[in-house]
């Protein structure tokens, strides 16, 4: 493989730090200014992210004009210990460029939407502060020029995610969900840390260039370890199996948070990490297989559970889990599929953000209800929301010529191209996932906007104000067109990062896959339409075991409870007992001993000069005697 090196940043590209500094500045001002910023704070938040978007666009253009398509900006040294130097450097290359555009672009639209969505919330300034903090941390994550910088961003988005999920912290469900997300991520982050330690131990660096160039010299075991550890971290952040349970609960946060953090950007960080580390992942077939299995398993898992949920945001959340499964599948397949994963990620960023904001608009109209069984017939009342949600629905199920078609079909085709039975297995899973996606998304769509009204008595649906619908329309347009526009151009754009893609031929030709996918998608959607056009019961009915299992998240919670919660509680109460009886006992006993000794010895402190002099005298006698003893010996 060619030596990987990154050219130093020049001109406009040396302003990469400003991309991060703008939203960070916004967050700092909003947090420090306090109530004084309540009136105008949200506009500052929007302005900083808008400025960052403009800068990202300009930098994107100037990167396009470069030959070597990379710009490395050294800021300062974070740590210098022995042979290890960790720099704070930023890397702006085609991969980070598209992420920057996604984060700032979609982020800008969602910020604007949130101005309307949060207008009645007393904590709006704090919300925008955290939102800007998130954007800054996410940009650190994708711009970091080494694993340590990525990790700083990684933890930063974790913090922002925690703060925003638990934004309505007085609601017990929100507080619990925030904690759950944070703890799950912490467990997975250990993988990231261990991966970095392994890199430092074996290669002596965490620089991208250093790690990638040295990766070939690693032993198979080491590269397997690094790959699996990074995969664990990626699974945690992206809500992939077995860490999927926190993501649906994260929907307790305000809807713009779900749209930006838990759909469009942060949860795709795992995909970014694997794509960025493609050199390591391509090195070891076992790691790749692991990624593929995680992806295939999760995409089915999410799709199945998505079919059984009645909360509009939770369906979308499980759909996110499932769609990121597709992206993992793609980056796990390697080769040309790396770019496919990124393209699906970008397209997904648009349509899923649009769907979430649409659901937020619906919730606004329905007094913050989220139960699709109590919706129905909303298309008349909120035509713009309806149209944009329809665009997202068409995009996610992947009908020609909408986004998903251009981005999901090639992934399914690549899955079938994998050698041997694995090709049939993962290809089949991906195809089945597409059918299920069509079914549950149709179910949500139909139950929400069509069929008879099943509203509770106190709701009076209305269309949302323009500040919310304009971003919706823009994202809707993006949902429809983005996939088609990006399919080939982004592949070319990413070539400097992933290398030339080779045409792959597998069990099924691309045409066969396209036809098959279209058929199953149409079947799935039609089934959804037929079953739910007449509405549904307003309370869940008793159902057969597969539905019950899906309603129970396929046992994910039960496994967590049995495998982690109960043993942890046991261990916790055991250690409390240990701490209370043994440790505290020893410490208190020791303290009492020292105190008692102190009081007893202090009796000598009589206050009489004669006894002090006696003490000096006896000390002197002892000193002389001791010296004499030395002599006699």
């Amino acid at each position: 493989m060619d030596e990987i090196s990154y050219a130093p940043a020049e001109g406009l590209l040396s302003l990469a730090w400003l991309l991060i500094a703008l939203p960070a500045f916004g967050a700092a001002v909003l947090l420090l200014a306090g109530r004084r910023a309540d009136k105008w704070g949200h506009w500052l938040g929007v302005a900083t992210i808008g400025g960052a978007f403009a800068l990202a666009l300009a930098m994107f253009a100037s990167l396009a004009g470069l030959d070597d398509k990379s710009a490395n900006l050294d800021l300062f040294t974070i740590l210098s210990v022995g042979d290890l130097d960790i720099e704070a450097n930023l890397l702006f290359d085609p991969l980070s460029a598209v992420f920057c555009l996604l984060i700032t672009g979609v982020g800008f639209l969602i910020h604007v939407y949130a101005v309307g969505y949060m207008s009645h919330d007393p904590g709006r300034r704090k919300f925008f502060a955290y939102f800007n903090l998130f954007a800054a941390a996410m940009l650190v994550l994708v711009l970091g020029g080494n694993y340590f910088m990525t990790f700083i961003g990684w933890e930063g988005v974790g913090l922002a995610s925690y703060l925003l999920i638990a934004f309505w912290q007085l609601k017990p469900a929100a507080a619990t969900a925030g904690k759950k997300a944070f703890l799950t991520n912490r467990v997975a982050d250990v993988g990231f840390l261990l991966a970095m330690f392994t890199m430092i131990g074996t290669l002596g660096t965490v620089d991208f260039a250093g790690v990638f160039n040295g990766a070939a010299s690693l032993s198979t075991g080491t590269s397997l370890a690094i790959g699996l550890l990074l995969l664990a971290a990626a699974c945690g952040k992206s809500g992939q199996f077995p860490f999927q349970t926190w993501l649906p609960d994260a929907m307790e946060g305000p809807t713009p948070v779900s749209a930006l953090i838990h759909a469009a950007t942060m949860v795709t960080a795992g995909v970014y990490l694997i794509a960025r580390s493609h050199v390591i992942f391509s090195l070891n077939a076992d790691v790749q297989t692991a990624v593929v299995i995680v992806g295939a398993l999760t995409l089915l898992f999410g799709a199945i559970v998505g079919c059984a949920k009645d909360d509009i945001k939770r369906v979308l959340a499980w759909s996110t889990v499932s769609q990121i499964g597709y992206m993992f599948l793609a980056v796990g397949l390697g080769g040309g599929a790396f770019a496919l994963g990124i393209i699906h990620l970008l397209a997904h960023g648009f349509f899923k953000a649009g769907l979430f904001l649409g659901s937020g608009s619906v919730m606004h109209a329905m007094n913050d209800q989220t139960d699709i069984r109590r919706f129905g017939g909303l298309w008349r009342k909120m035509p713009l929301t309806y149209a944009t949600f329809a665009a997202g629905w068409l995009a996610i199920i992947g009908l020609f010529p909408f986004s998903g078609f251009w981005t999901k079909d090639p992934i399914i085709a690549s899955a079938f191209a994998r050698e041997g039975w694995q090709g049939w297995a993962v290809g089949g899973a991906a195809l089945l996932g597409a059918a299920l996606t069509a079914f549950y998304m149709t179910r949500v769509f139909v139950l929400t906007f069509h069929g008879p009204k099943r509203w509770t008595d106190d709701v009076h649906p209305h269309e949302s104000p323009a500040i919310m619908t304009v971003p919706l329309v823009l994202l809707g347009l993006g949902s429809l067109g983005a996939g088609g526009l990006m399919a080939s151009s982004v592949t070319t754009w990413l070539t400097p990062v992933f290398g030339e893609a080779h045409e792959v031929h597998g069990h099924l030709s691309h045409t066969q896959v396209t036809v098959a996918t279209t058929i199953v998608v149409v079947l799935g959607a039609a089934l959804g339409w037929l079953l739910f056009r007449g509405g549904t019961d307003e309370v869940p009915r008793a159902a057969a075991w597969p539905v019950r299992a899906a309603r129970a998240d396929l046992g994910g919670e039960a496994v967590n409870r049995g495998l982690f919660e109960r043993p942890s509680r046991l261990a916790a109460s055991a250690s409390v007992a240990m701490d209370g009886r043994v440790v505290d006992g020893a410490v208190n006993g020791l303290a009492a001993g020292v105190g008692g000794t102190s009081r007893r010895l202090l009796v000598m402190q009589t206050g009489f000069v004669r006894s002090y002099a006696l003490s000096i005298l006896s000390g002197a006698v002892i000193v002389v005697a001791a010296l004499m003893v030395v002599v006699i010996q």
């Binding site: 002197a620 010296l627 004499m628």
Partner: protein
């Protein structure tokens, strides 16, 4: 042509300048008492003392790098005053710490007229005494302080036992007086002064006796000569051992090592707080400067003989000071016992000899700044006119005076040796140096003692922040420009030496070689 020149005597006047400046200023201070109007004396005396000490510090800096005797005959040094790295560094440290201590002595805002009595000869608690409480305190304290500081500067550069003895008395006598000059609780103050004087005289007797023994053994009082004699003297070694023991006892008394420590809590509590600060910071520097020189220059050749007993004393001092401190209820007594424990840590540096000289000096400087600031804070927290020294009175100070409580917290954490304070860097560098010198056992005891000692310090912090203040909680007299400056300087030094100790560690590293070792 006088006799001296005929004998070829050369005197390094520049090298003697720091001491000359301080002593001349002290005499000038006495003249000020006799000539200047009472109302103006304070300003004149304080400016004179501060300027003299600053000039002395400048003179020390000019002398930096010298490594010679101040008096030479025919080019051969006489040991009486020795200008070498440790001597100059400690002189400089003494000058800076003394400036801060003088500012604290000059504080007159915390209580009307300051903490010092106007006429010490008036019978305590008589009607005349009550009448003079409204008058400003005596200004003789400044010349007395200058004499003591001059003696300390001489003590750390004295190269023979006789000069050292003169210096010892010169630093001690003014301190005995200063201890008895408190305006409040005069009887306790006078008792402290008397105790200190009696026991100090007792210790001096040991010193003189030890000096006689060593002269008998070596035929000289010169430290380098005694060291030489340690290997080639024909006299019975008995003289050497008794001499070493007696000299050690006298100096360990000044350094407050167990079992020669008992005066410390009583004197620290009874003396006016600014004087206590002066003793805790400057006398500690002088005493250990002398110990370092005597053991490194004079007794290095007999190290094997005294190593064991000094180790025992160090252990007893470290553990004793820490354990006694645990049950103290009075902040001044707590600081007194803590100063005993710190003497134990510093003894490790003495025992480790050449390897740890620099680190011991760093510890002295770091500890001096912290402890001066700590006593300055003690002088600020008051119940009416009196200092609120009982710790129970400090409960909940964080709620009423958060600024003061933050300062106390920083100082307590520094004394407990937590990172980002000078207490940590000083302990760390001293203990690592001791490890280099193979003193593992002492280091382990030092760490255990630090752990025990952390308890009373942290108890103060808990008391400040986590307890509810009493309704009649003491007031904090801020801002008092003088004491405020002292606290600020002490805390700043504590933090700077904790975060960026590099520059001072470099200096002590270069200044760690004694002449004639």
């Amino acid at each position: 042509m006088n006799e001296a020149q005929q004998a070829g005597l050369q005197i390094d006047w520049a090298g003697l300048a720091p001491m000359i400046i301080v002593f001349v200023a002290a005499f000038a201070g006495l003249l000020v008492e006799a000539t200047v109007l009472k109302a103006r004396r304070l300003v004149v005396q304080v400016s004179l003392a501060v300027l003299a000490l600053a000039a002395a510090f400048a003179a020390v800096v000019m002398n930096a790098g010298k490594n010679s005797a101040a008096f030479e005959i025919e080019g051969v040094g006489i040991g009486s005053v020795v200008l070498d790295g440790p001597g100059l560094f400690l002189q400089g440290t003494l000058a800076v710490l003394a400036i801060i201590a003088v500012l604290l002595l000059a504080e007159r805002r915390t209580t009307r007229g300051g903490d010092f009595v106007a006429e010490a000869a008036v019978v305590a608690d008589s009607a005349a005494d009550r009448a003079q409480r409204r008058e400003p305190g005596a200004t003789e304290i400044f010349p007395l302080t200058l004499f003591a500081v001059g003696g300390m500067m001489m003590f750390v550069t004295a190269g023979d036992l006789l000069t050292m003895f003169v210096a010892l008395e010169m630093l001690s006598l003014p301190l005995y007086l200063l201890c008895g000059l408190a305006k409040r609780r005069r009887l306790i103050s006078q008792e402290a002064a008397l105790k200190y004087f009696l026991l100090g005289a007792f210790a001096s007797a040991f010193y003189v006796y030890g000096m006689a023994m060593l002269y008998g053994f070596a035929g000289t009082v010169d430290l380098a000569g005694i060291n030489q004699a340690g290997t080639d003297s024909g006299q019975p070694r008995m003289f050497l051992y008794i001499g070493v023991a007696m000299i050690a006892v006298a100096m360990l008394f000044k350094a407050a090592a167990v079992p020669f420590h008992m005066w410390t809590p009583d004197v620290y509590t009874g003396a006016p707080t600014p004087v206590t600060a002066l003793m805790a910071a400057c006398v500690k520097v002088a005493a250990f400067g002398g110990l370092l020189r005597v053991f490194n220059v004079g007794l290095a050749s007999s190290a094997w003989d005294w190593h064991l007993i000094l180790t025992v004393i160090a252990v007893a001092t470290m553990l004793g000071g820490a354990i006694f401190a645990v049950t103290q209820r009075n902040i001044k007594r707590l600081l007194a016992y803590s100063s005993i424990a710190n003497a134990g840590y510093l003894l490790i540096g003495v025992i480790a000899l050449g390897e740890a000289v620099g680190q011991t000096m760093f510890y002295l400087a770091a500890y001096g700044f912290t402890v001066i600031a700590a006593f300055a804070v003690v002088s600020l927290v008051r119940d009416g006119d009196e200092e609120a020294t009982h710790l129970a009175r400090w409960a909940g100070l964080g709620k009423k005076s958060p600024g003061t409580a933050v300062v106390v917290t920083i100082l307590m954490l520094a004394l407990a040796g937590l990172p980002f304070t000078s207490g940590f860097t000083a302990k760390f560098s001293l203990f690592s140096a001791a490890l280099q010198a193979d003193e593992l056992g002492l280091v382990i005891v030092g760490v255990i003692s630090s752990a025990i000692l952390a308890f009373p310090y942290l108890k103060v912090v808990v008391l400040l922040w986590l307890n509810e203040p009493a309704p009649d909680a003491p007031t904090v007299n801020l801002p008092s420009p003088m004491a405020g400056t002292v606290v600020a300087a002490g805390v700043a030094a504590t933090l700077v030496l904790g975060v960026a100790p590099g520059f001072l560690l470099d200096i002590v590293d270069q200044a760690s070689i004694f002449l004639n070792t």
